[in-house]
């Protein structure tokens, strides 16, 4: 595999975590404009731990996920009772606050004779853990997809369980869910925290793949992209968001047949697609149709 394909596949994997994070909240009936904040929290926390404190990446990733979940919990606490656009704007405000705080974050130490660590708008250079460990690009790709497969398996399992039914019912009719004995607020907080952890995991991997992060990486563009990925791919199954990411980064950027007009093609495609399938390619009806057919065959 050449460098270009490797980088492309890794990016598809990395942004899938973020798309899945937006997807989880969409299932619970909430549209977040702010998942990029937890991606950023994960990236900064993981980068600081491995680069400044020599913490091994797996431990740093766990810590970053915890921090991402905590941050998402704290943002969700006062905002999850808001509806529609109010919630979207509250999460957008929270994410921009996080990005602007990253711009104010100066925390540098001397490592091997060079200053390392976040330096405000200058960004955070030299997150070189995987290079120092001699981990090859292919191995990192494998690691990313192994983690993604783990997350996906967990999500698919949840969707087939009672928990998944509760999740969709909370999203579609919170009053009904509450009447059936679900504590909607607590449930949504749990979903938000899990989505935060998921985004943070993607962030840690992103920081170590890129070796350099800066506050601008985590602006509104990234958040709306992840939302769009989830919606294009479809809200019927956890495979939907992956399809969305693969379509944009994989097919369009990968093929490069459209050159500089890539985003014009992609944008038009998405707009037309949403007219034909407003809940995405793999929407609930299609997924239901496929699964019931598969069951009949048995």
């Amino acid at each position: 595999m050449d460098d270009f394909t490797l980088g492309l596949l890794t990016n598809v994997g990395l942004f899938s975590f973020l798309a899945l994070s937006a997807y989880l909240l969409l299932l619970a009936g909430e549209m977040s404009f702010g998942q990029q904040a937890f991606f950023g929290v994960g990236a900064y926390a993981g980068g600081i731990l491995t680069t400044l404190y020599g913490v091994p990446l797996p431990l740093a990733a766990l810590a970053a996920m915890g921090l991402g979940a905590l941050a998402a919990f704290l943002v969700g606490l006062p905002t999850l009772r808001l509806k529609g656009l109010y919630f979207a704007m509250a999460t957008l405000a929270a994410a921009e606050i996080a990005r602007l705080l990253f711009e104010l974050l100066h925390f540098q130490r001397e490592i091997e004779g060079e200053l390392a660590g976040p330096d405000g708008t200058q960004g955070f250079r030299g997150i070189r853990w995987i290079f120092e460990q001699g981990i090859e690009a292919q191995e990192f790709l494998l690691l990313t997809y192994a983690l993604l497969a783990l997350v996906l398996a967990a999500l698919l399992l949840v969707e087939r369980s009672r928990l998944g039914v509760t999740l969709r019912s909370v999203g579609e009719d919170p009053e009904l869910a509450a009447a059936l004995g679900v504590n909607v607020n607590r449930f949504k907080l749990g979903v938000a925290a899990s989505a935060g952890a998921l985004a943070a995991l993607g962030g840690v991997l992103f920081a170590h793949h890129n070796t350099f992060i800066e506050p601008r990486n985590f602006d509104i563009m990234l958040g709306v992209h992840s939302l769009a990925y989830a919606l294009i791919g479809g809200l019927g199954t956890a495979l939907g968001p992956l399809l969305g990411v693969a379509l944009d980064i994989g097919v369009l950027e990968g093929s490069r047949i459209f050159g500089g007009a890539r985003m014009i093609v992609f944008g038009g495609l998405v707009a037309v697609l949403l007219v034909l399938r407003p809940r995405g390619l793999l929407d609930e009806a299609l997924v239901h149709c496929i699964t019931s057919r598969a069951l009949q065959r048995r």
């Binding site: 656009l85 405000a93 939302l227 769009a228 919606l231 007009a261 014009i264 998405v270 007219v275």
Partner: protein, 294 residues
């Protein structure tokens, strides 16, 4: 100290006036369609790029550039309406919003394909030094923006309250179904409101680039964020609220930039929005466009 305070207030009012025009356009679309148009700012950016293209190729005068900005924005707005909002009129609000985001990507790419430099100079409304008055420095172009914004808001208020068209718009907002029974075509109202909002956005965009003296593709995101922020700060879907929110936003930015430093300018505005939303948005939801119209 007092002078600084006064100077900040004046600067903030000038910025707030341009935000007000953006927020009014946003609010018109949201009030009537109940949909967020993320492509609003990028459409304004396309209008400004059209004007920049004329400026570079024909050295047109400011009036022509302003007309080009308005025409470009209205055209881009019509494209957005046809592709993102007309098909989703009775359908999913989030699908419409994501579709409008997709067109944002198109607009950004289109702008960089036609004019591929990252920054272009735009002719200034007023060349030369600001006027000194009682120790304050007054920029004539900023005052002009303030004046144009005030006139436009007054005209809009008149249009919505004194004309048959305004009546039809208000009826559509109250209840589209009842309005259609009364012989009003809601689809036509949606299209006209979209065009009106885009025209206002085009004027706002022209005034903004002609006071800043430059155009970049980032203008799209900037205008969408400022418009959304001002609209939310002033409640949602009320024209008067949007204007108040925009003026407040201008003041917050000017004062926090002066007293706390440039990094704090946006931070304070977002903190305030978050606090307002987290505290209790009931006062925000109480205001609707029809209330302000009554």
């Amino acid at each position: 100290m007092l002078l600084d305070l006064l100077q900040n207030t004046i600067d903030g009012a000038a910025a707030g006036a341009s935000y007000a025009l953006l927020a009014v356009g946003f609010t018109l679309i949201f009030g009537v369609l109940r949909r967020v148009n993320l492509s609003y700012g990028p459409a304004v950016m396309i209008g400004c790029y059209a004007a920049t293209w004329l400026h570079l190729n024909f050295q047109s005068g400011l009036i022509v550039l302003a007309l080009a900005a308005v025409a470009g924005t209205v055209l881009a707005g019509a494209y957005v309406e046809r592709l993102c909002f007309a098909p989703h009129r009775s359908g999913s609000a989030i699908a419409a919003m994501v579709a409008s985001f997709a067109l944002w990507m198109q607009f950004e790419e289109l702008a960089t394909l036609v004019l591929p430099r990252h920054v272009y100079a735009f002719p200034l409304l007023h060349e030369g030094a600001p006027v000194e008055f009682l120790g304050l420095s007054l920029r004539p172009d900023a005052l002009a923006v303030l004046g144009v914004a005030a006139i436009l808001c007054a005209l809009l208020q008149g249009l919505l309250h004194r004309t048959r068209f305004g009546l039809a718009v208000r009826a559509t907002i109250e209840n589209p179904h009842a309005a259609s029974l009364a012989g009003i075509d809601p689809g036509r109202i949606f299209v006209l409101i979209f065009a009106l909002a885009s025209a206002i956005g085009g004027i706002a965009g022209f005034l903004i680039v002609a006071t800043h003296g430059q155009v970049t593709p980032m203008l799209g995101m900037w205008a969408t964020l400022k418009g959304l922020l001002a609209m939310m700060l002033g409640g949602l879907g009320s024209l008067r609220g949007a204007i108040v929110g925009a003026l407040v936003l201008g003041q917050i930015e000017a004062h926090s930039q002066w007293f706390l430093g440039p990094q704090w300018r946006d931070l304070v505005a977002y903190l305030l929005l978050f606090a307002l939303l987290a505290a209790n948005p009931s006062w925000m939801t109480r205001w609707t466009i029809s209330r302000s119209a009554s």
